[in-house]
């Protein structure tokens, strides 16, 4: 079942004409569904990490995270350096 979209209705009368104005908004259910989808993706990613670590041995767990952080730092420093050089 897709997300249920509920709306507020207001009836306005302008110059003897009746207008139906709707205000769509994010419902609590939509919020919960969005959260669930995001959590599902995060959970699957965690599962993949665990299974790949199991294949590579337990030591690989922190090592890969550190490598990723190190690579990211290196990239950032490089970008900063380039920005300074350009100035």
């Amino acid at each position: 079942m897709g997300p249920q979209i509920l709306r507020f209705f207001r009836i306005g009368i302008i110059d003897r004409r009746i207008f139906l104005i709707t205000f769509p908004f994010v419902t609590h259910r939509q919020e919960a569904e969005k959260f669930l989808r995001a959590a599902g993706k995060a959970g699957l990613r965690l599962q993949q990490n665990v299974s790949s670590e199991a294949n590579e041995g337990s030591e690989a767990a922190g090592v890969r995270t550190l490598q990723r952080i190190k690579a990211s730092l290196r990239k950032r420093n490089l970008n900063r350096k380039q920005a300074c050089d350009e100035k």
Binding site: F25, A32, G40, S72
Partner: protein
């Protein structure tokens, strides 16, 4: 973000926790089973927390506590770590990727007991100025979503 008291678990009623665990078990072709002893205890902690205003640290504590009880046979860690991580995800979208990754990893590790409370608090304190300056990217419950206590039908105002 770290000082704000909010209904952090508002978008995750117990039914969503079950659905998430079921999905994760099915992804591994496992039967989503509940642990008869832990299930009720975990539910008793989780359900009142859903609508309660609390700090983000308290929300992580609840994820950790419920993980510790182990309401499910499989994927307790992945289920509650994913919830803990997703709670702050919208805040982290605007954060630098490296800091965001450190926070995500720390939160997940805290929920499953690989990082203690002191370490989590240190990391959160370190990133506090950054987190306070970030805009929320949508997940933070909208004013309409805060109204009412659960996923109930809303009627048009009279």
């Amino acid at each position: 973000m770290t000082r704000n008291e909010k209904q952090w678990l508002n978008a995750t009623p117990w039914e969503s926790v079950l659905t998430l665990n079921k999905a994760l078990c099915q992804a591994q072709k496992m039967e989503p089973l509940n642990d008869s002893r832990g299930y009720d205890a975990a539910r008793r902690i989780w359900e009142p927390a859903v609508n309660r205003k609390m700090s983000i640290r308290e929300a992580f504590d609840i994820c950790h506590q419920v993980y510790d009880i182990g309401p499910f046979t499989f994927n307790n860690g992945n289920t509650f770590a994913a919830i803990g991580r997703t709670i702050v995800e919208d805040y982290l979208k605007a954060a630098p990727p490296l800091e965001a990754q450190i926070l995500r990893t720390t939160i997940c590790h805290y929920v499953v007991g690989q990082v203690d409370r002191k370490e989590l608090h240190q990391v959160l304190r370190h990133f506090e100025p950054l987190l306070e300056s970030l805009p929320t990217a949508g997940h933070a419950p909208s004013p309409q979503a805060k109204i009412g206590s659960g996923p109930q039908e809303q009627s048009a105002p009279s």
